[in-house]
């Protein structure tokens, strides 16, 4: 009963959030200067031409009227037509979403592996030079933003030692007929490991650039809570049972110490998704973020709206998943 209620409340708040986001975006991009129609017409177009196009896209109506019309469409799954690309926004946006999802999830996995390894290392050799090294590298990783890491990586692995691709998502020669846009996933189940390797070689640097700052945050927080947990009685008791340091850290302390980190990772993951906008641009990766920048440059209002709504939806879903994971991992929150 309470579970059902919680789900209902959750859905309701999500709907309200998305509506709020829609209103803000809709109004803001129309209030700021810059005219999408002007971008479409060649220089020297007459006022009549402009007026005609304005009417065609409905920009001659009031913002409120435009919003109602747009919302009516959204309710039926129609997010309007992209002005610059002249295709339905829903198709465009959903077509790019898998690329961004694959990139973000790969970055998240990399961040968790790197951050987790650093935290475990720092805990295993706490109060030593190794821990100091972990602290220093985490501090450095954190004080440099992701796009700068992107440039550093391009310099290292694209120029000085060119082992990874610096731009795009896949080598054109390898473009097999994908039936979904989840290339990485699809190439795996179709056992096309050559394609998969090519995709990874393209994604590696942008994913790493996104992952480094998050890995540093995970390393710091997880190490801190691991070290606190190591003083607790049940850890001491496990030692007296004959367990060694490695077992005590990974089996006794980690399952409990990971909980606060998990909440933080949820929040930080949404920042990471936000970071894809610049990183995708930097690496010419054909994802949502790259499309978002183009949409803004072209004043493609319907496309901007669609992308922002999708990002907002993505953030809510991530938070929901984190909350659910938290309950799964923490027996104290589970009801009998």
């Amino acid at each position: 009963m309470t579970v059902l209620r919680n789900i209902l409340i959750r859905l309701l708040t999500t709907a309200v959030t998305l509506f709020g986001v829609a209103v803000i975006v809709f109004v803001v991009i129309r209030v700021v200067p810059g005219n999408p129609i002007a971008m479409m017409l060649p220089p020297g177009a007459t006022d009549a031409d402009i007026a005609q196009l304005q009417a065609q896209y409905g920009f001659d109506k009031s913002i409120f009227q435009q919003f109602i019309i747009w919302l009516g469409g959204v309710m039926q799954g129609d997010f309007g037509q992209s002005i610059s690309l002249r295709q339905p926004v829903a198709n465009l946006v959903l077509g790019r979403l898998p690329a961004t999802l694959e990139l973000s999830i790969m970055a998240l996995v990399m961040a968790m592996l790197m951050g987790g390894a650093m935290a475990l290392l720092g805990t295993r050799y706490r109060d030593s030079k190794t821990e100091a090294a972990v602290d220093v590298s985490a501090g450095m990783a954190l004080s440099i933003p992701d796009f700068l890491w992107g440039l550093v990586l391009i310099l290292l692995f694209g120029v000085l030692w060119p082992v990874f691709h610096i731009s795009g998502r896949i080598s054109p020669s390898l473009n097999i007929d994908f039936s979904t846009n989840f290339y990485l996933f699809e190439s795996l189940i179709r056992l096309r490991f050559d394609v998969w390797a090519d995709l990874v070689a393209h994604m590696f640097m942008p994913a790493l650039a996104l992952a480094i700052p998050l890995a540093a945050i995970i390393a710091q927080l997880l190490k801190q809570s691991l070290k606190e947990t190591m003083h607790l009685d049940y850890v001491t008791l496990a030692r007296t049972k004959g367990y060694g340091e490695n077992h005590v850290i990974t089996r006794e302390a980690l399952p409990n110490a990971i909980l606060p980190t998990l909440t933080l990772v949820g929040v930080q993951f949404t920042f990471l998704i936000g970071g894809t906008v610049i990183i995708e641009r930097l690496f010419s990766y054909e994802g949502l973020g790259n499309m978002a920048i183009d949409a803004v440059i072209n004043r493609d209002l319907p496309l901007i709206q669609g992308i922002v709504i999708l990002f907002a939806l993505l953030f809510t879903v991530v938070n929901l998943v984190v909350d659910m994971l938290y309950v799964v991992l923490n027996p104290r929150l589970r009801h009998a």
Partner: protein, 289 residues
């Protein structure tokens, strides 16, 4: 070597060199209960921790020997020592609320080490855990095994920890103030249970407490500790009739009794503290030489 656990001149210091334990010697014979009393900060828990190898990182053993089952623990490598302790000794911790891992079910917390460390089969360990839970009077043992710690009361958890301590049939159990964190009503039951289990399994028991009343009920011998120094080592009967050291006598006199509930609390007199402080200082001078 007499005694199952035999500590010889154990000195433990802070990194700064300040002594926490001052050449402590004590012996726990097989199947006997040895009490370790002293006020807070006297270092009684540190003795248990030194034996089990769980001293805080800021402390280290500077000299002495700890003989357990005929082996000097301090002469072993860290790994050997851990194995030796895991196989021969066990701890009943002070606070049952924090001594069980909150994210694991009770069953594995008892059985895992039997499988991991002692190489038992899973079914045998499971069987053993059920027997033990029965021995510590836990009803519905099968259901309790599947529970998480937060679903059980403090008394229940302490029973589980006692069962777990006896799981590998250790020859020595160190009980570190095992009733301090419990309700007074539960304290009595737990105390009786520990005594009962100790007798049934014929284990040597080092019982750390600040409560002389508790000592009188369960112990055969005892050591009185002040500022990390053993001031008196005695048989139980003799101690309560005729304590030799003035600090012991004062400690006995300071024990509140139920027979005279109106009587005000007697502190340990000033001159006794001065006397014992002087002894400790003389010891340090001798040790420095």
């Amino acid at each position: 070597m007499s005694g199952y656990l035999s500590i010889r001149n154990l000195t433990v210091c802070l990194k700064s060199g300040a002594p926490i334990l001052r050449s402590v010697s004590l012996t726990v014979s097989a199947g006997q209960v040895h009490g370790l009393v002293g006020e807070s900060g006297a270092g009684k828990s540190m003795i248990g921790k030194a034996v089990l190898g769980t001293l805080p990182r800021a402390l280290h053993v500077t000299s002495g020997e700890i003989w357990l089952d005929g082996v000097n623990l301090l002469s072993l490598s860290q790994t050997e020592r851990r194995k030796q302790i895991g196989a021969t000794a066990a701890l009943i911790p002070q606070d049952p609320l924090t001594a069980l891992n909150p994210s694991k079910r009770i069953g594995p917390q008892i059985t895992r080490r039997l499988v991991d460390i002692l190489g038992w089969s899973k079914t045998k360990a499971q069987q053993r855990a059920l027997e033990l839970l029965d021995e510590v009077h836990i009803p519905n043992a099968t259901r309790v095994m599947r529970s998480y710690p937060h679903e059980l009361s403090g008394g229940m958890r302490q029973r589980i920890l006692i069962a777990s301590a006896f799981a590998a049939e250790p020859k020595l159990i160190i009980a570190d103030e095992p009733t301090t964190a419990l309700d007074v009503t539960v304290q009595k039951q737990i105390l009786r249970l520990i005594a009962e289990m100790q007798q049934r399994h014929d284990t040597a028991l080092l019982f750390v407490t600040h409560d002389l009343g508790v000592v009188s009920k369960v112990c055969d011998t005892l050591s009185v500790l002040y500022a990390g120094k053993v001031v008196e080592d005695a048989q139980m009967n003799r101690f309560f009739m005729r304590p030799i050291h003035p600090y012991s006598a004062a400690l006995l006199a300071a024990t509140p009794t139920y027979t005279d509930p109106t009587g005000s609390l007697t502190p340990v007199p000033e001159h006794v503290i001065e006397y014992v402080e002087k002894e400790v200082a003389e010891h340090d001078v001798r040790a420095a030489r």
